[in-house]
Amino acid sequence: MFNIMRKSWWKILCVILLLYTFIGGFLMDVPRLPALSETIRNLYFHVCMWFCMMILFTVSVVYAIRYLRSNKLTDDINSRHFAAVGIVFGVLGYASGIVWMSYTWADPNNTSFQSFGAVAREPKLIGTAIALMIYFAYMVLRDSISDIDKRARITSVYNIFAYALLFPTIWIIPRMLPSLHPGGENGNPALDTKDIDSRMRLVFYPAVIGWTLLGVWITTLKIRFSLLKEKRLLQ
């Protein structure tokens, strides 16, 4: 029992933090803002998806660089799965954003067509779409090369380029253009302690850690599963 606790303490931490996120996220006090109202609580869910995606992509590129230095195939497998789960979280962030957007940004006084015009011009939407497309291409590229070593080397290099493109597409360009998202041209609202309300930070930071741990947990399961599959193929 003690051994299990020592090895999987972070999984238990993940459970505790996410339970806190859901309970505190629904019940604790939030600022009363017009247009947002109670949907401001989506910060604990929608925004955390993107944070989790960024962290998983970062881990992925670290493993890609490690593969290029060590040539160990396990590094490549790790890199692949971290990118894959990162994509899943990115898609979840997109999907949750669609729901949130349609209740806050879409202007009820306008026709839906006009609202769509305003929303589709949103630089963060376009930027993240490009970033996710680049990672989709990473997956397609992987599956199109049958030679294992060649695939690992080419896709590791591609992974570095994909990660480099995250900088302009989701961190720089959306912050230079007018945006419906908070922050816009004035930098990073989620991490700026002067911007985000202190009551919300109480839940937001644990939520980011909890969601990230969940992403890592799912990734490790996928990695272990694919290692088992590789072993079976070798036998």
Binding site: S8, L18, L19, F22, I23, R32, A35, L36, L221, K231
Partner: protein
């Protein structure tokens, strides 16, 4: 400092309500949900779903561990 922040937030929200004729109070929140306690039902449901998902993940984890130990 904090009071200034709250005061300015209050003033801004009051100004916004002047622009927004539709809203008489500040922002509309789920106050009725909270006053009659129904919000706890939502929280309970979400927690049940979350616990179920965690249980599933833990079982999956254990299953994979067993496979790893058996070497098959």
């Amino acid at each position: 400092m904090r009071t200034i922040k709250y005061l300015s937030a209050l003033i801004i929200s009051l100004l916004l309500t002047l622009i927004n004729h539709a809203q008489t109070d500040t922002a509309e929140m789920a106050d009725t949900m909270r006053s009659n306690g129904r919000i706890y039902v939502v929280v309970a449901v979400v927690v049940v779903i979350l616990l179920g998902l965690f249980l599933y993940l833990f079982r999956l984890d254990k299953k994979i561990t067993r496979f790893e130990k058996n070497g098959s």
